[in-house]
Symmetry: C2
Subunit: 197 residues, 2 copies
């Protein structure tokens, strides 16, 4: 029996993008189902009753929730192609640390840029740049976060790049002026995608 | 060369407890180093420069941070004994989902019980009980979260149990009156530990 893979998602979601990219990396054919988050479909409520959030990956009828967990699941179920996570336990833990860092830090500070005013807005901008600089320092002179190969940490972060223009507009600042190397990394990822498909 | 395993920790930490229990489950001998969080030791700052938090697991000189990631690392490095996570990818993802749920929800609501006043305090109590009831529903009639075997989700949650008396005192409520089955699970875990050591 062929695998039935469904993704409940919402197009601008940087979390959903992770799962889409991970599935594409593994050449997994999936049925993308756009969700209306303001009028939630019974299938979303049934498949993610705890958080009621996208993305939800449904593999042969069974739901997997939370994008980082979905990436690990995809890597374990479809291991034959390019691995997303390294095989060495220490390197895996290192990559997961940065995925977790992105999850805990990037969205929360970015939200203050477009969703808060006054001091809170300014604090969000400052924290956001500090977080990106921390990530830039982790990237160092490597091509991708894991070295020469595009993988887990790159996928965890790259979806946010599509929001950078919005953050810059709301924040009235240039991310590239602050984080030149990180923007160069993002452009490499985007160029790579264009070369692949 | 024998493994050198050091744990930078602070005794009341429910996150540190996870790593201690995971190491004990695997019969890994480790050097426990209590940290003063109000006067941080250079080794903590060096080994976890991003978050500067305990627990930090240092294995042969290399740091692994974040307790859920440490549990997965321990499970991968010392796989010979009882596994903490199931081997099936779907069951693994399911266990990780609940570990992530505990991380995102339990501490934040519990903190409002002892750290907030008035409406915020009351909202924290209400949310805390709702979260425990969600966990109780996931536990169902199973002995442990994973079935018959004590594992990842049990370890992720059990450290909070040692704080329940404090939450009850600050919240002036009985957790057992609300979540009888979850308290029975916690007592099973504690009893089990006494039987093991």
């Amino acid at each position: 029996m062929a695998d039935e893979v469904i993704l409940l998602d919402f197009w601008p979601s940087m979390f959903g993008m992770r799962t889409r990219i991970a599935l594409e990396e593994k050449n997994v054919i999936f049925d993308y189902r756009e969700q209306d988050l303001w009028n939630k479909n019974p299938i979303l409520l049934e498949m993610n009753p705890v958080h009621k959030k996208i993305p939800v990956l449904i593999h042969n009828g069974k739901p997997v929730c939370e994008s980082l967990i979905q990436m690990e699941y995809i890597d374990e179920v479809w291991p034959s192609k390019t691995p997303l996570l390294p095989s060495d336990p220490y390197q895996r833990a290192h990559a997961k640390f940065w995925g977790d860092f992105i999850d805990k830090k990037v969205y929360a500070s970015a939200r203050l840029i477009w969703g808060a005013k006054g001091e809170e807005h300014e604090a969000g901008k400052k924290e956001f740049i500090e977080i990106l600089k921390t990530l830039e320092s982790e990237l160092g002179d490597k091509t991708y976060f894991g070295g020469e190969t595009f993988g887990y940490v790159d996928i965890a972060l790259i979806g946010f790049y599509s929001w950078f223009e919005a953050y810059e507009k709301f924040g009235n600042f240039s991310i590239e002026a602050e984080c030149l190397k990180l923007i160069a990394w993002a452009k490499r990822c985007v160029k790579r995608e264009r070369e692949c498909f």
